[in-house]
Symmetry: C2
Subunit: 88 residues, 2 copies
Protein backbone atom coordinates (compact mmCIF):
# COMPACT_ATOMS: atom_id res chain seq x y z
CA UNK A 1 0.00 0.00 0.00
CA UNK A 2 1.42 3.34 -1.06
CA UNK A 3 1.96 6.31 1.22
CA UNK A 4 -1.04 8.05 -0.26
CA UNK A 5 -3.26 5.02 0.21
CA UNK A 6 -2.22 4.89 3.86
CA UNK A 7 -3.03 8.56 4.08
CA UNK A 8 -6.50 7.94 2.70
CA UNK A 9 -7.10 5.25 5.32
CA UNK A 10 -5.82 7.55 8.04
CA UNK A 11 -8.25 10.26 6.99
CA UNK A 12 -11.11 7.79 7.14
CA UNK A 13 -10.09 6.79 10.65
CA UNK A 14 -9.76 10.44 11.68
CA UNK A 15 -13.19 11.20 10.32
CA UNK A 16 -14.60 8.39 12.45
CA UNK A 17 -12.70 9.51 15.52
CA UNK A 18 -13.90 13.08 15.06
CA UNK A 19 -17.48 11.95 14.57
CA UNK A 20 -17.32 9.92 17.77
CA UNK A 21 -15.90 12.89 19.64
CA UNK A 22 -18.64 15.20 18.36
CA UNK A 23 -21.36 12.66 19.10
CA UNK A 24 -20.17 12.12 22.66
CA UNK A 25 -19.79 15.85 23.24
CA UNK A 26 -23.52 16.10 22.51
CA UNK A 27 -24.23 13.26 24.91
CA UNK A 28 -25.79 11.06 22.25
CA UNK A 29 -25.57 7.28 21.90
CA UNK A 30 -25.04 5.79 18.45
CA UNK A 31 -28.69 4.78 18.51
CA UNK A 32 -29.85 8.27 19.44
CA UNK A 33 -27.74 9.87 16.72
CA UNK A 34 -29.19 7.49 14.14
CA UNK A 35 -32.71 8.26 15.37
CA UNK A 36 -32.14 12.00 15.15
CA UNK A 37 -30.85 11.62 11.59
CA UNK A 38 -34.00 9.73 10.69
CA UNK A 39 -36.17 12.43 12.22
CA UNK A 40 -34.44 14.98 10.00
CA UNK A 41 -34.99 13.17 6.71
CA UNK A 42 -38.07 11.01 6.46
CA UNK A 43 -36.57 8.95 3.64
CA UNK A 44 -33.61 8.16 5.87
CA UNK A 45 -33.40 4.92 7.81
CA UNK A 46 -29.95 5.08 9.32
CA UNK A 47 -29.21 2.24 11.69
CA UNK A 48 -26.91 2.34 14.71
CA UNK A 49 -24.89 -0.31 12.89
CA UNK A 50 -24.05 2.25 10.24
CA UNK A 51 -22.88 4.75 12.85
CA UNK A 52 -20.62 2.14 14.39
CA UNK A 53 -19.16 1.27 11.01
CA UNK A 54 -18.45 4.89 10.21
CA UNK A 55 -16.88 5.68 13.57
CA UNK A 56 -14.53 2.74 13.20
CA UNK A 57 -13.56 3.57 9.63
CA UNK A 58 -15.02 0.35 8.27
CA UNK A 59 -17.03 1.99 5.52
CA UNK A 60 -16.92 4.82 2.98
CA UNK A 61 -19.66 7.08 4.18
CA UNK A 62 -21.50 8.98 1.45
CA UNK A 63 -22.09 12.72 1.19
CA UNK A 64 -25.78 12.54 1.99
CA UNK A 65 -25.02 10.62 5.18
CA UNK A 66 -22.32 13.14 6.07
CA UNK A 67 -24.83 15.96 5.63
CA UNK A 68 -27.38 14.19 7.83
CA UNK A 69 -24.71 13.71 10.49
CA UNK A 70 -23.97 17.43 10.48
CA UNK A 71 -27.63 18.37 10.69
CA UNK A 72 -28.27 15.91 13.51
CA UNK A 73 -25.21 17.03 15.46
CA UNK A 74 -25.99 20.68 14.73
CA UNK A 75 -22.51 21.44 13.48
CA UNK A 76 -21.22 22.96 10.27
CA UNK A 77 -20.25 20.49 7.58
CA UNK A 78 -16.60 21.46 7.73
CA UNK A 79 -16.55 20.84 11.47
CA UNK A 80 -16.84 17.14 10.65
CA UNK A 81 -13.54 17.61 8.79
CA UNK A 82 -11.75 19.76 11.33
CA UNK A 83 -8.78 17.52 11.94
CA UNK A 84 -5.50 16.88 10.20
CA UNK A 85 -2.98 14.14 9.82
CA UNK A 86 -0.20 16.08 11.49
CA UNK A 87 -1.50 16.58 15.03
CA UNK A 88 -2.99 13.12 15.42
Amino acid sequence: MSINEKKINSYKMLFGDNLKKLRESKGLSQFELASTMNDIASNSKIDKTTISRIENGRTNVTLSTIIKLALALEVELNELFSFNLENS
Copy 2:
Protein backbone atom coordinates in the same frame (compact mmCIF):
# COMPACT_ATOMS: atom_id res chain seq x y z
CA MET B 1 -40.05 16.86 0.13
CA SER B 2 -39.42 18.26 3.59
CA ILE B 3 -37.39 21.35 4.31
CA ASN B 4 -34.54 19.22 5.59
CA GLU B 5 -34.55 17.04 2.51
CA LYS B 6 -34.34 20.16 0.33
CA LYS B 7 -31.48 21.31 2.51
CA ILE B 8 -29.65 18.03 1.94
CA ASN B 9 -30.04 18.43 -1.83
CA SER B 10 -28.83 22.01 -1.61
CA TYR B 11 -25.71 20.93 0.23
CA LYS B 12 -24.97 18.34 -2.43
CA MET B 13 -25.29 21.01 -5.11
CA LEU B 14 -23.11 23.39 -3.14
CA PHE B 15 -20.46 20.73 -2.72
CA GLY B 16 -20.43 20.24 -6.49
CA ASP B 17 -20.29 23.98 -7.14
CA ASN B 18 -17.44 24.39 -4.69
CA LEU B 19 -15.53 21.47 -6.21
CA LYS B 20 -15.89 22.99 -9.66
CA LYS B 21 -14.69 26.35 -8.38
CA LEU B 22 -11.64 24.78 -6.73
CA ARG B 23 -10.84 22.66 -9.78
CA GLU B 24 -11.01 25.63 -12.11
CA SER B 25 -8.95 27.76 -9.76
CA LYS B 26 -6.20 25.17 -10.18
CA GLY B 27 -6.60 25.28 -13.95
CA LEU B 28 -7.50 21.62 -14.24
CA SER B 29 -9.97 20.00 -16.60
CA GLN B 30 -12.27 17.28 -15.26
CA PHE B 31 -10.08 14.76 -17.08
CA GLU B 32 -6.89 16.15 -15.55
CA LEU B 33 -8.36 16.12 -12.06
CA ALA B 34 -9.42 12.48 -12.48
CA SER B 35 -5.95 11.60 -13.77
CA THR B 36 -4.28 13.29 -10.82
CA MET B 37 -6.50 11.39 -8.40
CA ASN B 38 -5.52 8.14 -10.08
CA ASP B 39 -1.85 9.02 -9.79
CA ILE B 40 -2.34 9.50 -6.05
CA ALA B 41 -3.98 6.14 -5.37
CA SER B 42 -3.00 3.28 -7.63
CA ASN B 43 -6.17 1.38 -6.78
CA SER B 44 -8.20 4.36 -7.94
CA LYS B 45 -9.67 4.55 -11.42
CA ILE B 46 -11.72 7.69 -11.28
CA ASP B 47 -13.22 8.66 -14.61
CA LYS B 48 -13.99 12.17 -15.83
CA THR B 49 -17.61 11.03 -15.94
CA THR B 50 -17.54 10.67 -12.18
CA ILE B 51 -16.18 14.19 -11.74
CA SER B 52 -18.96 15.54 -13.93
CA ARG B 53 -21.58 13.67 -11.92
CA ILE B 54 -20.21 14.99 -8.63
CA GLU B 55 -19.94 18.59 -9.81
CA ASN B 56 -23.54 18.53 -10.94
CA GLY B 57 -24.85 16.94 -7.77
CA ARG B 58 -26.03 13.83 -9.58
CA THR B 59 -24.36 11.38 -7.20
CA ASN B 60 -23.57 10.83 -3.53
CA VAL B 61 -19.80 10.99 -3.52
CA THR B 62 -18.11 8.75 -0.96
CA LEU B 63 -15.56 9.73 1.67
CA SER B 64 -12.63 8.05 -0.05
CA THR B 65 -13.40 9.94 -3.25
CA ILE B 66 -13.70 13.17 -1.27
CA ILE B 67 -10.27 12.52 0.25
CA LYS B 68 -8.74 11.85 -3.16
CA LEU B 69 -10.26 15.09 -4.44
CA ALA B 70 -8.63 17.02 -1.60
CA LEU B 71 -5.25 15.37 -2.15
CA ALA B 72 -5.39 15.99 -5.89
CA LEU B 73 -6.45 19.61 -5.48
CA GLU B 74 -3.93 20.11 -2.68
CA VAL B 75 -6.47 21.60 -0.31
CA GLU B 76 -7.50 20.73 3.23
CA LEU B 77 -10.48 18.42 3.50
CA ASN B 78 -12.63 21.07 5.17
CA GLU B 79 -11.92 23.46 2.30
CA LEU B 80 -14.12 21.22 0.18
CA PHE B 81 -16.89 22.04 2.67
CA SER B 82 -16.22 25.75 3.06
CA PHE B 83 -19.59 27.03 1.94
CA ASN B 84 -22.94 27.49 3.58
CA LEU B 85 -26.56 27.61 2.64
CA GLU B 86 -27.04 31.21 3.75
CA ASN B 87 -24.73 33.10 1.40
CA SER B 88 -25.54 31.11 -1.73
